[in-house]
């Protein structure tokens, strides 16, 4: 090929690219997603996008992926630069912050669209739905039937979970057998969001909370109230009595300790369920959270889709989201990456969550026990303060002082932000 021919080819290609785009009247919709690097997730999402693009002729959705660790920063940077995509993917507890900062606009889905979704998969801020998830996640006490029976420990049910005394006694009994390094693996190795996600529901179960949910304006008397202090005392005693590994737990032990038999019980999520089932089969149990007095609760809300405030085509963005939350896609995601599908109909279509399926219990946990982390923009600070307080308490800090410090920081932050839109 001569240089001249090459030039012609390049020019023709360039013209095609320019005019080819202009000829079609389709509007382009950009979608940002947090799951870069996960091949399965990408395939499923691309499938949905292709189906959507083929199903109508008004819009074309294009996908851009980010690694999870830098996804939130990318959105914040894009928002500052006014370059947000049309459709964004947002983690449940982060959503109110983005909605408050006007990164997002309320969804405009048809009324029946969210009818039988799990409560944790719907993101509400200021009485309006801003985001919806294709899945949720759930946490359970991982246990072995044979171990519980050998130690005459009652197997709890959703209707009758362990009480606080029962749970504590079970831990002491299991530790007493001497067969385990620790009776309970809480996952303290997983710093960051795991703490508020996994442990704040336990605090709620003990009648405490991270914030006064009536006003969302102060944590005073709630996070440092009697109930929370009682929970903190018990939390500290878990480590003092060496019933659970402390904050220096090895990450590898967290991943395999329960399967290796180092821990008798493990507080872990549905994403870790399949390896445990493989290891223990019929003997494996996924038990509901204990009830510390105010009901038994677990964290809810995972990644969800929403429409950015800057979108020039909100109708198209909403149309895509409505298209994506069909049961078949929910089921496909669940089969692909093991998460809990957001509707019962989709659950019935999956291998693991259909009735009688190995993980069906998680769907029940999610719909019965799911409890949202405080839906307020102040959550970012609450989450960090809560983690710091629990880690400090585990390492021997005075319980009341640690919780007071968290309350002061949370309240000061809420004040500095003019109440985050509450109490106006």
């Amino acid at each position: 090929m001569t240089a001249k021919k090459l030039l012609i080819v390049v020019l023709v290609t360039a013209m095609l690219a320019v005019f080819g785009g202009a000829v079609s009247a389709q509007e382009e919709l950009s979608l940002w997603y947090h799951g870069a690097g996960n091949e399965v997730e990408r395939t499923i999402l691309m499938g949905i996008i292709e189906d959507f693009n083929a199903s109508q002729s008004d819009y074309v959705v294009s996908l851009e992926e980010f690694p999870q660790a830098s996804y939130n920063e990318s959105i914040v940077a894009a928002a500052l630069a006014g370059e947000l995509p049309d459709i964004i993917d947002v983690d449940g507890p982060v959503m109110p912050g983005w909605a408050w900062a006007e990164y997002m606009q309320p969804l405009a889905l048809s009324e029946s669209a969210l009818g039988d979704f799990l409560p944790g998969a719907i993101g509400v801020w200021n009485d309006e739905v801003y985001s919806v998830g294709l899945w949720d996640a759930a946490v359970a006490v991982f246990a072995r039937k044979s171990v519980l029976e050998a130690n005459s420990i009652r197997i709890p049910t959703l209707e009758e979970p362990w009480s606080w005394e029962e749970f504590d006694a079970a831990l002491v009994t299991l530790q007493g057998t001497g067969e385990y390094e620790y009776a309970l693996d809480l996952g303290t190795a997983w710093t960051g969001e795991w703490y508020p996600y996994a442990f704040s529901p336990l605090l709620q179960s003990a009648c405490g909370d991270m914030i006064d949910r009536e006003t969302y304006l102060s944590a005073e008397g709630v996070l440092n109230g009697e109930d929370s202090v009682a929970f903190g005392d018990w939390w500290q005693s878990l480590f003092d009595r060496e019933l659970a590994p402390g904050t220096s737990q090895d990450g590898a032990d967290r991943d395999t300790g329960f399967i290796d038999g180092k821990y008798a019980l493990s507080w872990n999520g549905n994403w870790a369920a399949l390896p445990a089932l493989e290891a223990y089969g019929e003997d494996m149990l996924f038990l509901p959270a204990p009830d510390f007095g105010c009901g038994s609760t677990i964290g809810a809300a995972s990644w969800q889709f929403g429409v950015s405030a800057d979108s020039e085509n909100p109708e198209g963005a909403n149309a895509f989201i409505e298209f994506a939350i069909q049961d078949e896609y929910l089921a496909e995601f669940s089969n692909g990456i093991g998460l809990i599908p957001a509707t019962a109909a989709a659950a019935a279509m999956t291998e693991n969550y259909a009735e009688g399926g190995p993980l069906a219990v998680f769907f029940a946990l999610s719909s019965e026990q799911g409890f949202l982390r405080p839906p307020t923009p102040g959550y970012a600070v609450m989450a960090l303060e809560f983690e710091k307080a629990l880690a400090d308490i585990a390492n021997g800090a005075d319980v009341q002082t640690a919780l007071d410090a968290a309350v002061d920081a949370i309240d000061a932050d809420i004040e500095a932000n003019g109440g985050y839109g509450f109490g106006e």
Binding site: G246, A380, V381, A391, D392, N395, A405, D408, D411, D413
Partner: protein, 369 residues
């Protein structure tokens, strides 16, 4: 040809002006980089520390005066007298016979009665003549971080500098294969601090870490394993040891360069005079290293004040704040808590501290003529 000549000699500029212009042009890339990434951000941080700027916010940014500095730096003293039995006038004592005091919480969480103590927390306390004095701070975590950082600097500067000098003197000999040793000691400097910190986490691991295993082997099992990074007593020393190990090679090379500028003639003269090892070090080597010493000291101090990576990766400020550092708190606030103004305030405070210390160091190490 005529036009070519014109371009080599611009009209209206004499030789000096021309040279100055070329000089500025050549300096331009660096000046632009320094301006955009150092000087402008510094003034922005300075400006933001007087506002309530957030990373994510639905509220407009407002000027708040010195509030950020007040929230960060307020320190108050509160002295409490022991409780007295009202009828007998005697001190109320607890079971162990110690005097008892009113609860600190009653003072710090009561905005109406004691607005001056509201939301202050106990930093530390001391007892004198039966009464107890609390030092309260509005931001105890920052105060602890500041104290920890100073402690880190005070230990690191002499230990790292001294060890580096020792290594440099050992390696400043003409022995076969000495370059191999120089390379070995320099190696950790080349490895990223993030990687070093991750590796040392395995070394310090409480259950099956290399350090515990090694100590157990050396003492024939007599050593009881320590969870180095989770124990408040050992966490900071562990970080220090690892930091020294990582950076000592860099300063060793600087010392080495300094040592090689000292003329061998002086050592030969000292030998003729019959000077012993110490005298040679005291009167030849050390005076010859004067400028190097000033440089090494200032560099180590600056780097130590920037303590961040090790903390972020190995301990996240724990256990119970024993490894909090100023820069870690700066990042934690700015990006973790979306509080850009709070992070900026810390960076301004840190700037003045480091500035004051380097001015002091310059003054103390000045040439005394």
């Amino acid at each position: 040809m005529a036009s070519l000549q014109n371009t080599t000699k611009p009209s209206g500029l004499n030789q000096d002006q021309h040279e100055a212009l070329v000089g500025w042009l050549m300096a331009m890339p660096v000046i632009v980089l320094l301006l955009t990434f150092l000087i402008v951000p510094f003034f922005m941080a300075f400006g933001m520390s007087f506002t309530n700027q957030r990373l994510i916010s639905g509220n407009p940014t407002e000027f708040v005066g010195l509030r950020n500095f007040q929230d960060l730096l307020t320190v108050q003293l509160l002295t409490l007298d022991p409780l007295v039995d009202e009828t007998s006038g005697e001190l109320l004592r607890d079971e162990a016979g110690n005097p008892t005091y009113p609860k600190l919480r009653d003072y710090t969480r009561d905005e109406e009665t004691y607005p001056q103590y509201f939301r202050l927390q106990e930093w530390f306390s001391f007892q004198r003549n039966n009464s107890i004095t609390y030092v309260l701070a509005s931001d105890v975590v920052f105060m602890i971080a500041l104290f920890n950082t100073f402690f880190f600097v005070v230990v690191i500067a002499p230990v790292q500098g001294g060890l580096a000098l020792l290594l440099a003197m050992m390696l400043n000999q003409k022995l076969p294969g000495i370059n191999v040793f120089r390379t070995i000691y320099f190696m950790p400097v080349v490895v990223s601090m993030v990687v070093v910190a991750l590796l040392w986490r395995f070394i310090y691991d409480g259950s099956n870490g290399v350090l515990n295993t090694l100590l157990a082997t050396l003492t024939f099992g007599g050593f009881k394993p320590v969870d180095w990074l989770a124990n408040p007593q050992t966490a900071m020393p562990a970080l220090m040891a690892m930091s020294v190990w990582q950076a000592v090679g860099f300063h060793m090379v600087i010392w080495l360069a300094g040592l090689q500028t000292i003329p061998t003639l002086l050592y030969e003269a000292a030998n003729v005079e019959g000077a012993d090892w110490w005298q040679k070090f005291r009167f030849v080597t050390w005076p010859g290293l004067r400028n190097t010493a000033v440089f090494v000291l200032i560099i180590i101090t600056m780097q130590a004040f920037g303590l961040f990576t090790q903390v972020d990766i190995m301990t996240r400020g724990g256990p119970v704040d024993t490894t909090q550092s100023v820069v870690y708190q700066m990042v934690q606030r700015g990006y973790g808590k979306y509080d850009i103004s709070g992070g900026s305030t810390i960076s301004v405070v840190l700037f003045f501290i480091v500035l004051a210390i380097s001015l002091l160091q310059r003054y103390l190490t000045r040439e005394k003529n």
